[in-house]
């Protein structure tokens, strides 16, 4: 049985918890950008937390169901509708065979997660169903959904309708956003004054923001400490000998517009990185719309680990509540 794609939405892909283990040959983890919302959607419909779901960016798809299923939509505020009747977010609801699931306009956030009981059944590639479009890998033929696609749905009855996640456990898209960052990597390459300005300035999410990375603009340019460039690096002061890029790393090509790499990251390259957004705040990036005012907040490793524990505590409580 299956679900037919009537309209794909702007950029809708199949994602699960990702494909770790191949970054050393340039294949990134992929997976949902907001993993907390992805897991919650799955648990609401009775799936394992890591089942494959649809990640819809800015606009939702229109889907015709050829079977009964339980559905939940989490993440961005984008009201789901069944045959035109609005359904609550972060809550499971039934869709009957022959009914159409569609979405209202985006009200907050950027990415909605659509879980269907049984999960999206695309082939597992290198241990995951996630789509990596740059490498034409995983998901549905390695690409975003298109009109007329048929999505196979796995077996499974699904949980009852009306299961809902308490308000306090739901993702609240930050406005303005604060992204906590641990300085490091090539931080020593920018001047002390530039380092202070970087945290003082309010940046804005640029239109070039996707699963590879989020670009930020509107802050003041960063100055580099003068040096003779190392052999092999290239002549621009922001160039380094091509190296590996951490997920969440903040690179500053030419010292102007920082780019934070995300789940479909390029695995390496020759631009200086000045630090890394901490793991606890990666989900939040996936819910930032273009033009969102954003500040980077300097943290220490103990603070990063405390934030990680806090996020894990929320995830554990979601598991307990819906498990």
């Amino acid at each position: 049985m299956a679900v037919k794609v009537i309209k794909p939405g702007l950029s809708t892909t199949v994602q699960d918890l990702g494909r770790p283990g191949y970054y050393h040959i340039g294949i990134p983890t992929s997976g949902g950008m907001d993993l907390l919302s992805l897991a919650a959607a799955n648990l609401l419909v009775g799936n394992p937390a890591g089942a494959a779901v649809l990640e819809a960016v800015f606009t939702g798809p229109e889907l015709a169901f050829e079977q009964d299923a339980t559905v939940a939509v989490t993440g961005a505020a984008m009201a789901p509708k069944v045959d035109g009747v609005e359904q609550p977010g972060w809550t499971s609801f039934r869709v009957r065979k022959g009914q159409v699931l569609s979405f209202g306009f985006l009200k907050a956030g950027a990415r909605a997660y659509v879980a269907i009981s049984g999960g999206i059944d695309v082939p597992v590639v290198l241990g995951s169903r996630s789509t990596y479009t740059l490498g034409t890998l995983g998901g549905l033929e390695g690409r975003k959904l298109a009109e007329g696609d048929m999505l196979s749905i796995g077996a499974g009855q699904g949980a009852a309708e009306g299961r809902s996640l308490p308000e306090r456990l739901r993702r609240k898209p930050g406005q303005p956003a604060e992204l906590r960052m641990l300085p490091g990597l090539y931080w020593h390459r920018i001047t002390e004054a530039a380092g202070e300005r970087f945290f003082e300035d309010t940046w804005k999410v640029a239109p070039e923001a996707d699963r590879i990375g989020y670009r930020f603009k509107a802050g003041r340019p960063l100055d580099f400490v003068p040096q003779e460039q190392p052999f092999g690096a290239g002549s621009d002061p922001s160039n380094i000998v091509d190296a590996c890029y951490p997920y969440g790393s903040v690179q500053v090509p030419s010292g102007t517009e920082p780019i934070v790499l995300h789940r479909d990251a390029v695995s390496g390259g020759g631009y200086c990185m000045i630090g890394t957004v901490i793991s606890a705040d990666m989900d939040l990036i996936g819910q930032l719309q273009p033009h969102t005012p954003t500040r980077f907040v300097k943290v220490t490793m103990p603070e990063a680990l405390a934030a990680r524990r806090d996020r894990k505590a929320v995830m554990d409580e979601i598991n307990r509540t819906l498990g």
């Binding site: 970054y23 490498g135 190296a243 951490p246 390496g268 390259g269 020759g270 793991s279």
Partner: protein, 291 residues
Amino acid sequence: MTTRYSFGGDEHIFVECGAEMSLEAFFKGLSITNALREARIAGVTEICPANASFQVRFDPDIIAPDDMLRELQALEAAAGSAPSVLDTRIIEVPVLYNDPWTHETGQRFRERHQDPTSTDIEYTARINNLDGIDGFIRAHSGAPWFVSMVGFVAGLPFLYQMVDRARQIQSPKYLRPRTDTPRLTVGHGGCFACIYSVRGAGGYQMFGITPMPIYDPRQETPYLRDFMCLFKPGDIVKWKPVTRAEYDHIVAEVDAGRWSPRMAPVTFSLADFHRDIDGTNARVMEALNGR
């Protein structure tokens, strides 16, 4: 050459073996990452060697960041005395230099280039004092290249020219990256060559194109059936200039599933290489002829 450690957030540790590129820095990273793989430390999730550095991703819920750092420092101390010898392979990569597709793409993004009135290959020949396009092709394809990193996108090799530094081709990256690069473009930035495994954005100069796929997510290409990416760090590449007719022929053979690259096992010793660069290169390249 001092080793520098830095945390990349709470899940990564970045280790720079040398700020500048050298085969010594590469081999240091390779020996530590090999030792780390063998050590099977709980919590280590990704081990990524790079040109003159490497990166480890770990789960801080399983191994604390400071413990991860100490493990790596201990491995570095133990790896210091290991000889830099590698059992590897040489792969011949056909290249149509100065091809029409990268030429067209280069012209489309000319305003992002250092020299808008020239082509990438003419510009790079000039700033490296090479005798035009033919002189460039002789210099580029005359000596083998060492795969010192795989990444950026799936299966893309970074290659380091196996000649002394004075003879290494160097070029800047585009002033602003292009939004398009043909698949299988042979590129160059800093001292590194690369082969773009997929079509996409890129900032490297473009010199030619190979008919030989190096990444196949469907794993239908005969030599990519075992794994979808061809290259791994430590591979050695010999570029082979081909004509347009030879290029077209190989493309047709690849499409018919009848073509595989020439490759042969070789042993590479860094000490031998430094003692006699041209002699070592000649021996490595002879392996392709079954000698």
